[in-house]
Amino acid sequence: MMASDVLFVVFGVIAAACALYGVLTRYLLRSIVALGAFLTAVAGEFYLLAADFVAMVQIFVYVGGIVVLMLFALMLSTSGERQPLAGSDRRGLSALLAYALGGMLVWASVGAKFPAVLDRLPASVPYLGRALLGEQLFAFEFLGVILLAAVVTALALVRSERL
C-alpha cells in the first residue's frame, strides 16, 4: 500500500466517523461542528484525487460559508441543546434501509471495472477555467441564475416574516 492510499483511508475513516457522529448526536451544535470536520476530511480526499481547486472551494464555501450559515440559523432559532430522536421502531427500519442502500452501492462498485488512472494528470487550474468558459459554459451561467434565484427566494422568505 502506498502512502497516498493510507492517507485516503485515514481521511475516509475520519469522514465516515464524523458523518456518523453528526447524524447520531443529540446536540445540534455538535452535529454542525461534526459536519465541518467531515467536510474538511472530504476536502482532503478531493486534494488526493488531484482536484486541488475543488478542495479549496470545499473549504471556502462549505466550511467558511455553509457551516457558518447553519451556525447562524441554529443560533437564531433553537436554544440548540438536546433534541429527541425519532422513535426506535422507525430508527431500526431506517437503519435497515440505509444498510441495504449502502450495501447495494458498495456491491455495485466492487464488481465494476475501470480504466487505469493516468500517471500524470493535468494541473487543474488553467483547464478548469477553460472548461468553465468553454465546454461547461452552460453550467457556469446556470449557476449564476440559480444563485440569483436563491437570494431572491430566501430573502422573500425571511422578509415575509414580521421581525
Binding site: M2, A3, S4, L7, G44, Y47, L48, L49, A50, D52, F53, M56, V57, F60, V61, G64, G65, I66, V68, L69, F72, A73, M75, L76, S77, T78, S79, G80, V117, D119, R120, L121, V125, P126, L128, G129, R130, L132, L133, G134, L137, F140, E141, L143, G144, V145, L147, L148, A150, V151, V152, A154, L155, V158, R159, E161, L163
Partner: protein, 122 residues
C-alpha cells in the same frame, strides 16, 4: 502516481498535526504549574459585576442571517471567478462577455437585496 498532489496533502497533514498538537501540549504541560480552583463566583458568567440578567442563546436578530445569506452567494461567485481569472486574458473578449453576464446575474441579487432594504442594519 500524481505525486505533487499527494505530497502536498502529506505536507499539509504534517503541518496541521504540528499546529494542532503544539497548543494542546502547552495547555497540558502547564496544567501542573497553574492553579486550578474551579467553582465559586468566577464560575458565573461575567456581566460587568451584575448577576446574569437574561439567558443568552436566545433567538436573535434575523438581520444576521440575511447578511450571511447574501454572503454565501457572493462566496460562490468569487470562487468561480478565481477559477476563471487566470485564463481570462488568454481566451479574450468572448470570455469577458461570459464572465460579465455571470457577474451581472449575481450583482442582480445584490441589487434586489438593496431595493428590498435588506442591507440596512437595525
Amino acid at each position: 502516481m500524481n505525486e505533487p498532489y499527494q505530497s502536498d496533502v502529506v505536507f499539509l497533514v504534517g503541518f496541521a498535526l504540528a499546529v494542532v498538537l503544539l497548543p494542546l501540549v502547552t495547555l497540558l504541560a502547564f496544567r501542573w504549574i497553574r492553579p486550578t480552583h474551579p467553582g465559586g463566583l468566577k464560575a458565573q458568567a461575567y456581566e460587568s459585576g451584575m448577576p446574569q440578567a437574561s439567558a443568552p442563546r436566545r433567538p436573535f436578530h434575523m438581520a444576521y442571517y440575511t447578511f450571511a445569506l447574501i454572503f454565501i452567494v457572493f462566496d460562490v461567485e468569487a470562487l468561480l471567478l478565481f477559477a476563471i481569472a487566470p485564463v481570462l486574458h488568454d481566451i479574450g473578449w468572448p470570455a469577458l462577455a461570459e464572465v460579465g453576464g455571470f457577474v451581472a446575474l449575481v450583482a442582480g441579487g445584490l441589487f434586489y437585496a438593496w431595493r428590498k432594504g435588506v442591507l440596512v442594519w437595525r
